[in-house]
């Protein structure tokens, strides 16, 4: 009983407990004295109960298995007929499980040894290299302009609700078309066609340009990369 008290919760599972009992009693694993082992196994569970330690269900399942094997061992063997295949030892399955378990327990010990050997080699933590980003190639100024137009358009939508309409988009569209007509249909984009400089005029102007482009009343063109950008009247709308 003393041994159990010391190792009350030391067993990972029923197989570990059984292995312990087999080793402690120096039992031949191929010929387990099942009645004796069962008794010791149950004694351990009772000890756990005494200390109000919850017994995991796996331990109870194993207890039932042991009792079943024990009762089967007690049954008289049927007279062996020459032709009948030899009846399986009721302990066979349990022995196989124990052997399998022990095999991996040994493997674990060997692996622990390997780990220990390897731990004598100290390595360095991997160098901290921030992943370097290769910047995308072939980006065009147009991409940037398009992005800006897109964001400004959506922002302008928001402003449109709150801005007092001093100058309407409609007015500014007329104004731009007027300006274009007066300058023979072409104006450099960078050139200002803002008259008052008020915020509402800016917004209206930008929206007006977008709207005119959408209506194909005007075109935006650029002769070469990074060259000046021109606003021009759309074809056939003079």
């Amino acid at each position: 009983m003393e041994a159990y008290k010391i190792r009350l919760d030391a067993f990972e599972g029923p197989l570990a407990l059984l292995m312990h009992l087999i080793e402690k009693n120096q039992i031949d694993i191929y010929d387990i004295p099942i009645a004796e082992v069962t008794e010791q196994y149950l004694a351990y569970l009772r000890a756990l109960e005494e200390f109000n330690i919850d017994i995991a269900s796996e331990f109870l399942v194993m207890a039932a298995t042991l009792l079943q094997i024990k009762s089967r061992m007690l049954l008289p063997k049927p007279p062996a007929a020459d032709e009948a295949p030899e009846e399986e030892d009721p302990r066979q399955e349990l022995v196989e499980r124990l052997l399998e378990y022990r095999r991996f327990k040994q493997a674990a010990t060997v692996m622990e040894g390997m780990l220990h050997e390897r731990e004598k080699f100290f390595s360095r933590p991997p160098g901290e290299f921030a992943t370097r980003f290769v910047l995308p190639e072939g980006l065009r100024l147009d991409d940037l302009l398009e992005a800006f137009a897109a964001v400004w358009e959506s922002a302008a939508d928001q402003f449109a609700f709150i801005a007092r309409e001093e100058i309407s988009v409609q007015d500014k569209m007329q104004d731009i078309l007027h300006l274009l007509h007066r300058r023979s249909g072409r104006v450099e984009f960078g050139e200002t066609f803002i008259r008052s400089g008020s915020r509402t005029e800016m917004v209206a102007a930008f929206l007006a340009i977008l709207e005119l482009i959408r209506m194909k009343r005007i075109r935006i063109s650029q002769d070469r990369s990074f060259g000046p950008i021109y606003l021009a009247l759309g074809e056939g709308v003079h």
């Binding site: 599972g13 570990a16 040994q106 692996m111």
Partner: protein, 178 residues
């Protein structure tokens, strides 16, 4: 050797990487063929074997890694905090099942160990020693687990074929059973 000047490059790359570097990666970075990489590594290793050198190169997890010499471990331990969380026996047993039986499901691990393995498997996954490698073609399509390159690194294995043969342990049983 014609490529002798690249030995220092290999030394520097091993140092900077920290992790094992494959021959292919060396070959690609140094723009020389794999055979020459092998020769340079062998020479480097030989030079490092000299008594007044403190480092060595080990073949592990499919690559080469720079490490301190094992006989210097006692002195290095003075420097490095070696209080890494050790693996419990339960974790080690479960890891050995995964190592030898991979790919393997939790149910299969539980059958062998006779206890639930959820907690232990979670720990091993968290440590990066095992990982999900697929699903078993069975009811419920349970997750299959296998070991990781980190596992090889931790145990100093070149690859899985370096694991001891499980049947050796069986032989042990039989010898004992006789």
């Amino acid at each position: 050797m014609f490529y002798n000047h690249l030995k220092g490059h290999i030394e520097a790359l091993l140092f900077a990487s920290g992790n094992p570097v494959t021959v292919d990666k060396f070959s690609q970075m140094l723009e020389i063929d794999a055979a020459h990489v092998g020769l340079l590594l062998a020479e480097l290793k030989q030079e490092m074997a000299a008594a007044e050198r403190g480092l060595t190169v080990v073949e592990v997890a499919g690559g080469y890694q720079m490490c301190t010499k094992p006989e210097l471990a006692p002195i290095i331990e003075k420097l490095v905090d070696t209080q890494e969380a050790r693996l419990s026996m339960a974790a080690m047993e479960t890891l050995s099942i995964v190592a030898f039986k991979q790919p393997v499901t939790k149910q299969e691990m539980e059958n062998i160990r006779g206890v639930k393995v959820d907690g232990v498997v979670a720990t091993l996954v968290e440590r990066g020693l095992i990982k999900e490698v697929g699903r078993k073609d069975a009811i419920g399509r349970p997750i299959l687990y296998g070991t990781t390159p980190e596992f090889l690194k931790c145990f100093g294995l070149k690859d899985l074929s370096e694991l001891p043969n499980l049947s050796e342990f069986m032989g042990l049983e039989q010898a004992e059973g006789e």
